[in-house]
Symmetry: C2
Subunit: 385 residues, 2 copies
């Protein structure tokens, strides 16, 4: 397994890339609040984000190193990262939960009238109390918050080789786990036990933790891809799908696999072939310079040409520090595809009303085209006993 | 194991309680966006929240049932809940990601000039793009958003008996897992393998998933309680702590256990005794009508009376649908303790500079006092081989 973490130079490169975009946008600082954005800039990796009790702030100034304004409980771990300017308070504090500490830092780092980027666009969240954000906004006048979505997304979406290797390692964990499907998925086993054992094997195969599992099982296909597992046992003629966002060293994989239980119906086999062919088509034709919506169009062309009913929603997306990242392969997303983007190809078809099948692979986009990070699925629908 | 989910009457009770508080606050609607708040009101349970791509909105009107304004990908699962008014859009959509659908619903449900509560206070987050929230705010004028934190927190913090039983079941998962510690934690085993196996056993013992694990190990104590595990093997003289937020049927436990590896130092044993005694003290004296800060004071009195250095930060908190909930046992939190609150008692002491020990139990507060939900820790620091 690869070494843990990144050298300091990786973080310096990231901050320099952010600062170049900030300069072009005339933002004097970038305020980050989410687990993913904070990890990206600092290397601060903890599952403690699961607790919604405390906000965490990292400021990337126009030049120089980031400043962390964080709860005291994180000082020890942040101190092991490359960040040197760490300002803490004893959170949660009902009277002032880091508000004046953050306002002071922004006032110090940003000139009067200066703009501070905050991610506030599509696929972003402010992970801090809205009321505190409004209080800080008032305290830093004549400085003001503006939309910093473009700054962070255009930088984060292009992965370094070190990042690609992290994601490849996590994909390997899922590859090995899917290869052991017959161990934990057999006819007669309740789906909820399959889900539990699927997670157990992901841990055995090297996941640090398993942030996401989903799937479905039903005769000839399944109903949706986000429901938790129920007690129904796998039955002959079912198609089983398992999908995972396992995590290793802070990086996700996100791909699924399909199996027939006992035997496959003609409809299920045909759907598999159509989806496999559409994925091959996109793997062969994906290029730097295309837009996200072009990928959606490629999928629709291949699936439609095979006579399939294309599934709704997006047909793939970015991937990295979170289970899903922008862009989205939808008819509307105009994001330009660039070398170094890590993406999922996720075509789905409707076999009958309320019965679907979804495939997924993970790739990195190179100057020469798509390079698989997941081991390509079997070309025909595999059968489990 | 207990039955899954809740009867419809449980959700009707929750909505009626919210509506009573809304009426008192003169809010005509409550807008909810987080996984926890949406689950609380609708029963919508999925790990799909791990994807930050899409916002999800649920509106509790002044009277009548909640309205879900959600991405189409969630329609099938939300349709299995008790909610009947489900409005969907094809997300993520760069031009209008549910903004006009949400604004239309609010305009329809709230009179001109009416106030709409949104949680924006301590321990809350808006799980939606800030820019979209601002757009909706402008579209619904003369209606306006106001702080709805009190409405949701005062209702959610008092658990029904059905909720208490869910949390008790999850505590049982962790109890059984801690009882098997000698299987996965022995001298010479790297801490990262201990963490991995700890999660595996939690799944074996009935967790649906493991959203949080933390811990530490070091000579006589550990440095902090939020760091991920490293490769260092457990050594004789270490104190090992494992903490978990496992999840079963949407409800968390959150408690830890400590062990000495091989043998315990006098300092570690003494810290354990002092923490055990302080927990006993609070278990005996916790009463309805006290304030959160009174619990902090009880801990400080008992720990200080034993000559220990009290750990910083909060010494316990609420628990339920998220790993941590308000209130916080800090010197500042004036939240009144009420019957039905599920709480963690989490005292910590500093044994030497940078060396700590933390205990934790989960309880439900009854009219008669504290009732343990976790099985009380051993009275003396247990030793693993």
């Amino acid at each position: 397994m690869a070494e843990r973490g990144f050298p300091k130079a990786e973080f310096e490169r990231r901050v320099a890339a952010l600062q170049a975009r900030m300069a072009a946008a005339e933002h004097e600082a970038l305020l980050l609040t989410t687990a993913a954005d904070v990890f990206y800039v600092t290397g601060f990796l903890t599952r403690f984000w699961e607790s919604p009790a405390r906000p965490w702030y990292v400021i990337v100034p126009a030049s120089g190193d980031p400043v962390a304004v964080i709860p005291a409980i994180g000082a020890e771990l942040m101190g092991q990262c490359w960040i040197e300017d760490i300002r803490t308070w004893d959170a949660p504090c009902p009277e002032d939960d880091g508000v004046s500490l953050l306002a002071d830092a922004l006032t110090q780092l940003v000139s009067a009238g200066g703009k501070i980027g905050v991610p506030m666009g599509l696929e972003t969240q402010l992970r801090a109390p809205l009321g505190d954000f409004e209080r800080v906004s008032a305290m830093i006048v004549p400085r003001s918050f503006v939309d910093g979505t473009e700054v962070i997304q255009r930088v984060r979406e292009v992965k370094s080789e070190a990042e690609v290797e992290k994601i490849r390692a996590t994909c390997g964990v899922a590859d090995r786990t899917f290869a052991r499907a017959q161990e934990y998925a057999q006819q007669g086993v309740p789906l909820e036990r399959v889900f539990r054992d699927f997670q157990r094997v992901l841990l055995e195969e090297g996941a640090d933790w398993v942030s996401y599992t989903a799937g479905g099982a039903g005769q000839g296909g399944y109903g949706d891809v986000i429901s938790p597992a129920g007690p129904r046992p796998l039955a002959a003629g079912d198609v089983l799908m398992l999908d995972t966002g396992a995590v290793r060293d802070g990086y996700f994989c996100d791909f699924d696999r399909n199996w027939a239980i006992g035997h496959a119906s003609d409809g299920a086999r045909r759907a598999y072939e159509v989806l496999y062919k559409a994925t091959d088509h996109v793997l062969a034709h994906l290029r730097v310079g295309q837009k996200a919506r072009d990928v959606h169009a490629m999928f629709v062309k291949s699936l439609g040409g095979s006579g399939a009913n294309v599934g709704g929603g997006r047909l793939g997306h970015g991937l990295g520090i979170t289970l899903t990242e922008w862009p989205s392969f939808t008819p509307m997303d105009q994001t330009e595809l660039r070398a170094g983007m890590v993406l999922t190809l996720e075509p789905g078809v409707e076999i009958a009303p309320g019965v679907i099948q979804v495939h997924e692979e993970n790739i990195v986009l190179r100057e020469s085209g798509a390079e698989l990070l997941s081991t390509r699925a079997a070309p025909e629908l595999p059968v489990l006993r």
